[in-house]
Subunit: 864 residues, 2 copies
C-alpha cells in the first residue's frame, strides 16, 4: 500500500516528466568532467581539481533545505519588490497624466479612462497568448496541486513570465484587484523552477514528497512577502491551501517567509523609502486604552455584518461568472473578441471612479494603498457629525466632499467598490480578490467607527479619564473581518497585526473574525472553493461546522457495489468486456471471481495496453509466420521484413488519403461481444477487437476528447490495413479467427504495472473517517473490502455526493443520532463472521485439491 | 481498512470504557421520563410536557460544537483566574511574612525558607496520594494521547483536582516553575469531564474522533488562557502536541481560546486590576523606530546563544532525572521518603534566593511576574556603564546592588536561575518549564541589550535623529528565543507579541527564534520529547531538518521478514505454536501458507481466547458426556450438573489453599511442542495445552506483570483441578488424549474478532513516506505486502530504530543519495512481476480442480 496511492492521480505522470527532464537536461552531468579530469593530466590540473572539489562541496550544500529556502525567499523578495516598484511607477504615471491635463476635463477623462483600459487589455491579451493558466488568483489551483493532483503547465517558466507581467499591468491600471493570490502562484512557480534549476547540481530535488513540501513553503512565502507579514502569511497559506498540515513543515514556511519579508523590507530601507523596518500600513493608535469593553458589541456587529457581506461577495462573484457563461449570445460574441470584456469592464469602472465625476463621492482618486492608509488613520473624521471641525490634510482630502459629509462618501465607496471588485475579479487577467475586499472591509469598519464616534463624542468610559473612540481601530477590525469572511480564514487577524504593526486590538479583531467566519461559512463556500467549483477542479468539500450526522453515515451506505473487476486467471476476452462495461480509471485485480480477494489494482490504460499488445499485428504476423514456416519457409519470412519497413514509415508519415474513405463506418460502436455476431463485411472485421477496444477508450474520455480518440483509432486502423495490404497473404477471416483465438488465452499480467496495495476501507468506516483519510492521503478512490474480499468501491464522487447530500438524505441512509457504538460493533462482527465463514467453507472444499497441487513448494521463504 | 486501525492501539479499550460508562451513568437516561410521561396523565402533565420539550431543544443545542467550546472557554477562564488569584495571594502572604519579620534576619530566613518548603511538600504529597498522574507538565502525555494512545487515569476528575490544587501550591511557593504545561493538561481534563457531563444530555459526545478534536481545542485553550494569548496559544499547542494538524479543527481552537482569553481578561477588569483589556506584560517601546537594521546581528547572536542554551537546559534536565534514578542508594532512600527530595530542593533554592543573603545579587525578592515586568522595562538601566545615573523606581530597585553593577546582577541571575529551573522542574509536583525558561531568556536578552546600550550610548543610527537602543526589546527577543529553543517551537514569537501587546520587534524576534530553533533542534530533542523518552511513552521521532537519506531508505530495508502468521485453514496446534514463538500483539491472518495472501489481522488475545475456548473444561466435559452417553446415560449427566455448580463457586471464592502446593512445578515452561514429549507426571499433564498457553501469555507481558499472570494461571489451573476432582471419572490420560485430539482440529475463526483490513505497505515505500503515514494515522504497526502476499511487517520499533540509526547506518542499508527514481521503478516492476508470476503460475496449476469444485456457485453477488 501507498507505494503508489498518490501516483494514481498523476504522480506517475510527474515522475515520467521528471525522468524525461533527467534524460534531456542531465546528459551533461556536472560530475562527468571531474571524473574525466583525474585522467587528463594537464598544466593547471591541480588547481582545477581543487576548484572542482569546492564545487562539489557547494553542490552538496545546495541540497540542503535551508539553502533552497533562502534562495526562494531572496528571489521572491526581489520579484515582489521589483513588481511593487513597477506598479507604483504605473500608478504614478496615471496620476501625473491626470494631473497634467487639469485644464481640460474631457482630455483628463480620456487619459483617466484610456490608461487603465490599455493596461488591462494588454495584460489580458498577453496572458491569453503566452499562458492562459496564469489567469486568475492561483490559490484554487495551488490547493488542488497540494492535494497531489497535477495540473498541466501550471508551474512553468512561461506561466511565470505571463503571471508576473500580466499582474504588474493589471495592478498598475488602478483597478480594484489584489495581488496576494497571484503571489502565491508566483512563489510556487518560483519554487518549482528553482528546484528544477538546482536539480542540475544534485539529485535531491527529484523527490516528489519533497517538492510538495517546498510548494507548501512557497505558498507561505508568497503571502508573506506580499504583505511583509511572515507569520500571517504562513498561517493564511496553510488555511487556504491545506486540509491537513504537517507540523514538521512549519519551520520551512516560517524560515522562508521571514527571510523574504526581511529582504523585502530591507530593500525599502535601502531605497530610502523607509528609515527602518516597519509595518507596511503602520498605525499609531494609543496603547494605554485601545478600546473599551463596552465597544465590543459594535465590533461584534462588524463581524456579523462582514460575514453576510463576505458571503454576498462570493455569491455575486460566482453569479457574474455564471451569467457570462450562460448567456449564449454574449458568450459567443465575447469568445470571438476576447479582449472586449476586460476593456469594457475597465471602461465602466474607471468612468465611475473619475474624480471630477462620480468619483468625487467615493474618493476615486486614491489608489488602493492610499485608501488603506487614510482608512487606518488615527484621527476621527466626523467629530460630532460636523466634519468641518476636522482639518483634512494631504490625501485625506479625498474623503471630504463639500456638499455631503463623510458618511455619505463612505457608504457610496463601500457600495460601489463592492460590485466593482466582484466584477473586476472576473476579468481574465492575473488578479486576486483579497486586497479589494480588505479595503472594502476597512471602509465598512471606518463607517461603523465614525458612527460610534459621532454617537459617543466623549467616549464610553465613565471614569475620570476621557478616552475617545478610535475609528481607525474599527477600520482594522472591519478589514480583517471581511477578508476573513470571503476567504474563510482566521489568520487575516494576524495579517492585520503585522500590516499595521499594532496588536492592541487583538480581542476585537479575533471576535469579529470568528463571528464573520461563522456566518460566512454557514452561507457560502470560500471564494477559493467557489472558484474551484466553477473551474471544475477535483475537490472534496469540507465537513463544515456541525457534522454530527457524518459520524453516522458509513461507507456501506455510499459505496458503489456493482463494480467491474479483473481476475488473475481471466481471459483477454474478459478484459475486453470489462473495458466495454465500465469507465473506471483503476480496475481492481482479484484472485478469482469466487474468492474475490483483492490483490491490487491495475490502471485502465494498462489493461488496454495488455489487450492491444495481445492483438498487435506484430504478434499476429509472428504467429502466422511460425505457422506458415512449417508449410512454406521462404515466402513469408520475406513479407515480414517488408512489413517491418511499412510500420516504420506509417508511424512517421501520414496515411494515404485514398485508404481513409471505406474505413469510416467501421468506427460505429460494435456489439459488446463480437464473437457472437457473424462477420458482416470482410474488410471491416479485420482487427475488430482492437477497434472495439479503441471505441471503449474513446467512451471513457470526456465528449470533447472524442474527436481526438476518433482520429487516433482511425490512424491505427489505417496502419493495420496498410499492413494487411502489404502482407496480403493473410485473409481477414484468418485474422478474425486468430484474434478470437488470442482472446481465449489467459491473460499474462507479468508485463502490466500493478499497484500492489491499493487503498482499502471496510464497510463500517464512518463518513467522517473516510473524509479524513481521503483528505489526509489525497486519495481519489478506495476499494471497500471485507476480510480481503472486494465488496465495493468509493470514489471522490460518491464521497462528495454523500457530504453535500447528507443533510437532505438524498441517496444516503441517515442513521438516528443515538445509534450507539454497540449496535455497530454487533453488526460488524456479524457481517464479518458471515464473510469469513463463507471464505472458510470454501477453503474446506478446496483444501484437498490444493494440498495435492505443486503450489505447496512455494513455502520456502516464509518459515512457520 | 481503517475500520480499526487506531483501535489497534487502544481505541478499543476506550470504546469499552465508553460503553461501560454508558452502562453506569446513563441508566437513568433523560429520555425515559418523557417517554413514560405520554402515558401518565397527571394534573400538570401539559406543562411538564412543555418543559420537557424545552429541555429537549436545549439538549439538541448542547450537542453543538460551539456550545461545548464556549463552556470549555468559560470554565477554563474561571479556573485560570481563580488559580491566578490564589497564587497571587500565596505570594503576597510570603512577601507579607518576610516584610513583617524584618527585625530579625534569622526569623526572616526561617519564614522565607519554611513557607515554600511546606507548600511544595504539601503539593508533592497531595498529588502523590490523590493522583500521581498529575505530576509534571502534561504536554508530553497530551502529545501521546492525541496520537491515539490511551493513558490510564490521565483525564479523570481526581487528576484534575490533584493538578489544580497541586499546581496552585507549587506556584504559590515562588519556586521557578511554570504553569503552561499543566494548564494544557488541566484544559484537556476539563474538556474530557465536560464532554462526559454533557453526554448525559445527548449522545453526541460519545464519538472518539470528536473527542480527539475537542482535546486538541482544549490544549489551545490551556495555553491561550494561561498567557491571555489566543493566537499564540493555538499555534503553540499545535506545534507541541500534533504531528499532522487538521485545518478544519483550526477554528475550534481559535474560538475557544479567544473566548477564554476574553473572559480571563474581563475578569481582571471586573476585579478592578485593569481599566480595560490589555496585554499581560504590556510594553511601551517607541513605535516609530523600534530598532535599527544594524542591530540585527546582535539579535542573531541572541538567537544562536539561546539555541545552545536551550539545548543545554534540556540536556541538564534529563541528566538530573537520570542521575536521580541511577544512584541506587539515593534512589532507594528517596523512594522511602518521597517528600524529602522536593523539600530538599526547595530548601536549597529558597536559601540561595534569600534576599538579604545571596539573593541580593540576583534580584531574589522578585516574583516571576515582577521579574518579567522589570526585564521588559522601557528604560535603559546601565547608561554608559555608570548605573548611578539612572533612578531605579519601585520594583526595579531589586536589580540594583550598591557594590556591583547591573551586569553582574544579570549574569548571576541567569546562571543561578538556569540550574535552579532545570532542577526545580524535576520535582514531582505539577509544574511546567516554559515560564522559568522564558524569564531566563528575557534576562539574557536584557543583558545583551544593556551591553549594546553601553557600547552605543547614542544609538547606531547615523542620521540626524538619535534613536537610543531599547534593551527591553532585546529582552523580548531573548525570551522568545530561549523558550522557542527549549520547546522547539516558532510560535513563542507570537506569544511574546500577545504578551507584550507590541509587534514592532517582529523581525528580530522571528530571526532569533528561527536561529535558536535551528541550533537547538540539531543538538537535542525538545523538552517535551525528552520527557516522553524518559517516561518511556510510545513515540515516533521526528525526521529533523535535513533528511535526504530518509528518502532513500525503504521499508524492505527495515522490515521484519521472519514473522509468524495464522492461516485460515490452520489447526489449533498451529495457533498454539504461533503463540509460543512470537510476542507480537497482532498476528496476520493469511489465506494459506502457500499463497500468503493477507486477509486481515487478529489480536493475540483473540487467538488465545480461541485456543482456550477450544480446550475449555466445559467443552471437554460436554464431549466426554456425549461420548459416555452412548455407554452410560445416567451417571454422567449428574456429574455435569455438579460441575456447573463447582465452576460458579470457584470463580467467586478463592481457591482452596490445600490444592496449591502440588501445582507449582506445573508452571515451569514446557517444551513448545507438547505432543512430542512423553507425559512425565499424570497430574501435571492435565490441561497441558492451556497451561502452556498461559505461560506464553505471561511471557508477552512485561516482567513486572509476570507475578499477576502467574497467579492468574495458577487460579485457572486450580479450577481445572477442582473440576477434575469433582468430575473424577476422567483420567488425566483421557484429558491429554482429548486435548491432543482437539488441537488437531481446524480452527473455526467465526467467533474471533478479526480486523478485516490491517494497514499495508509495499516494500518500496520510502522511510519518509512510512513515517508520514505512521504519524498521520497514528499506527503502531503495518504489514508489508506484495500483490496481496504478506512479506513482512514494520512496527513503531523498527521505524524508530531506522530513523534514529539511519545516520550511523546501523542495521539500515543507506543508499547512495543519487540512486535515482528510475532504478527504483525498474526494480519495483521486476520484483512485483516475479511475485505476480509466482501467483499466476500457482493459479495455472490450481485452475482445474477449482473450477470442478463447488466454490463456483458463490459467484452470484458479483456480476461480471
Amino acid at each position: 500500500m501507498y507505494g503508489r496511492y498518490t501516483q494514481d492521480l498523476g504522480t506517475f505522470a510527474k515522475d515520467e516528466a521528471a525522468r524525461l527532464r533527467l534524460q534531456e537536461g542531465d546528459t551533461p552531468r556536472p560530475r562527468r568532467p571531474s571524473e574525466l579530469l583525474e585522467y587528463t593530466q594537464g598544466r593547471c590540473a591541480p588547481c582545477r581539481v581543487c576548484a572542482l572539489q569546492c564545487q562539489r562541496f557547494l553542490i552538496s550544500k545546495v541540497g540542503e533545505d535551508w539553502v533552497f529556502l533562502i534562495l526562494l525567499g531572496l528571489v521572491m523578495a526581489l520579484v515582489s519588490w521589483a513588481m511593487d516598484f513597477a506598479i507604483a511607477t504605473c500608478l504614478q504615471a496615471q496620476k501625473w497624466m491626470y494631473g497634467g491635463l487639469d485644464t481640460n476635463v474631457l482630455l483628463q477623462y480620456m487619459a483617466w479612462v484610456t490608461y487603465p483600459t490599455v493596461l488591462i487589455t494588454f495584460s489580458a491579451g498577453f496572458t491569453q497568448i503566452l499562458a492562459p493558466q496564469a489567469v486568475g488568483s492561483g490559490i484554487p489551483e495551488m490547493k488542488t496541486i497540494l492535494r497531489g493532483i497535477v495540473l498541466k503547465e501550471y508551474l512553468t517558466l512561461k506561466t511565470f513570465v505571463a503571471k508576473v507581467i500580466g499582474l504588474t499591468c493589471a495592478l498598475g491600471s488602478g483597478m480594484p484587484l489584489g495581488k496576494e493570490g497571484p503571489f502565491v502562484h508566483i512563489a510556487s512557480m518560483c519554487a518549482a523552477l528553482l528546484s528544477r534549476f538546482l536539480s542540475l547540481f544534485g539529485g535531491f530535488y527529484e523527490n516528489e514528497a519533497r517538492n510538495i513540501e517546498m510548494l507548501a513553503a512557497a505558498c507561505a512565502v508568497g503571502v508573506g512577502c506580499c504583505f511583509a507579514a511572515p507569520i500571517g502569511g504562513v498561517l493564511f497559506s496553510i488555511e487556504v491551501t491545506s486540509t491537513f498540515f504537517a507540523v514538521r513543515n512549519y519551520w520551512r514556511g516560517f524560515f522562508a517567509a521571514t527571510f523574504s519579508a526581511f529582504i523585502f523590507r530591507v530593500l525599502a530601507v535601502w531605497n530610502k523609502d523607509e528609515e527602518t523596518i516597519t509595518a507596511l500600513f503602520k498605525t499609531r493608535f494609543r496603547l494605554d486604552f485601545p478600546f473599551d469593553l463596552q465597544e465590543l458589541p459594535a465590533f461584534a456587529v462588524i463581524g456579523i455584518a462582514s460575514g453576510f457581506g463576505g458571503a454576498l461577495f462570493v455569491y455575486l462573484n460566482r453569479k457574474i461568472v455564471q451569467f457570462m457563461r450562460r448567456q449564449k449570445t454574449i458568450n459567443r460574441f465575447l469568445m470571438k473578441k476576447r479582449l472586449l470584456f476586460p476593456a469594457l469592464v475597465t471602461l465602466i469602472i474607471s468612468t465611475l471612479t473619475f474624480p471630477p465625476g462620480f468619483g468625487q463621492f467615493m474618493a476615486g482618486q486614491l489608489t488602493q494603498k492610499d485608501t488603506l492608509v487614510t482608512l487606518f488613520d488615527n484621527q476621527t473624521w466626523a467629530k460630532q457629525g460636523i466634519n468641518d471641525e476636522f482639518e483634512y490634510l494631504g490625501i485625506l482630502e479625498a474623503w471630504r466632499h463639500p456638499r455631503s459629509n463623510v458618511f455619505v462618501t463612505l457608504v457610496v465607496f463601500i457600495l460601489m467598490k463592492f460590485w466593482m471588485s466582484a466584477l473586476a475579479t472576473t476579468i481574465p487577467v492575473p488578479c486576486g480578490a483579497f486586497m479589494p475586499v480588505f479595503v472594502i472591509g476597512a471602509a465598512f469598519g471606518r463607517l461603523v467607527g465614525e458612527s460610534m464616534a459621532a454617537w459617543f463624542p466623549d467616549g464610553i468610559h465613565t471614569d475620570s479619564n476621557t478616552y475617545r473612540i478610535v475609528p481607525g481601530g474599527y477600520a482594522v477590525v472591519g478589514a480583517a473581518a471581511l477578508s476573513g469572511a470571503v476567504t474563510h480564514t482566521v489568520s487575516t487577524a494576524v495579517i492585520v497585526f503585522e500590516l499595521t504593526g499594532q496588536i492592541s486590538h487583538i480581542l476585537p479583531v479575533m471576535i469579529a473574525v470568528i463571528l464573520a467566519n461563522a456566518v460566512a461559512q454557514s452561507l457560502q463556500p470560500s471564494l477559493y472553493d467557489s472558484i474551484i467549483r466553477i473551474k471544475k477542479l477535483p475537490y472534496l468539500p469540507e465537513l463544515g461546522w456541525g457534522h454530527h450526522e457524518k459520524y453516522n453515515v458509513r461507507v456501506e451506505d455510499i459505496m458503489v457495489r456493482d463494480i467491474r473487476y479483473v481476475t488473475l486467471n481471466c481471459k483477454y476476452r474478459d478484459l475486453q468486456q470489462v473495458l466495454h462495461s465500465t469507465k473506471m480509471k483503476n480496475l481492481p485485480l482479484v484472485e478469482s471471481a469466487e474468492s474475490m480477494i483483492l490483490l491490487g489494482s491495475i490502471e485502465r490504460t494498462q489493461v488496454g495496453a495488455l489487450l492491444s499488445n495481445q492483438l498487435s499485428p506484430q504478434r499476429r504476423l509472428l504467429a502466422l509466420r511460425q505457422k506458415a514456416l512449417s508449410e512454406d519457409g521462404h515466402r513469408l519470412s520475406d513479407s515480414s521484413i517488408r512489413f517491418q519497413i511499412s510500420t516504420d514509415t506509417s508511424s512517421g508519415t501520414p496515411a494515404r488519403p485514398a485508404l481513409r474513405k471505406p474505413l469510416k463506418p467501421a468506427l460505429k460502436r460494435v456489439p459488446s461481444s463480437p464473437a457472437d455476431s457473424p462477420p458482416a463485411g470482410s474488410t471491416d472485421h479485420a482487427g475488430i477487437a482492437l477497434k472495439s477496444l479503441f471505441c471503449a477508450n474513446a467512451a471513457t474520455e470526456p465528449t470533447e476528447a472524442q474527436g481526438t480518440a476518433y482520429h487516433k483509432a482511425k490512424r491505427v486502423r489505417i496502419s493495420i490495413v496498410e499492413e494487411m495490404i502489404l502482407g496480403d497473404q493473410v485473409t481477414p477471416a484468418e485474422i478474425l479467427e486468430w484474434e478470437e483465438q488470442q482472446l481465449d488465452q489467459q491473460v499474462d499480467f507479468s508485463s502490466a504495472k500493478i499497484d500492489p496495495a491499493p487503498f482499502q476501507l471496510v464497510e463500517h468506516t464512518s463518513l467522517h473517517k473516510t473524509h479524513t483519510i481521503f483528505s489526509l492521503l489525497g486519495l481519489d478512490h478506495a476499494f471497500v473490502t471485507s476480510i480481503g474480499r472486494l465488496v465495493g468501491m468509493v470514489s471522490l464522487k460518491e464521497l462528495r455526493k454523500a457530504i453535500e447530500g447528507s443533510l437532505t438524505g438524498k441517496g444516503v441512509k441517515v442513521r438516528p443520532p443515538l445509534a450507539s457504538f454497540r449496535d455497530s460493533t454487533a453488526s460488524t462482527t456479524e457481517a464479518d463472521t458471515t464473510a469469513l465463514r463463507q471464505l472458510w467453507d470454501r477453503h474446506q472444499h478446496h483444501h484437498m485439491p490444493r494440498e495435492a497441487g505443486p503450489g505447496g513448494d512455494n513455502d520456502d521463504d516464509t518459515p512457520k
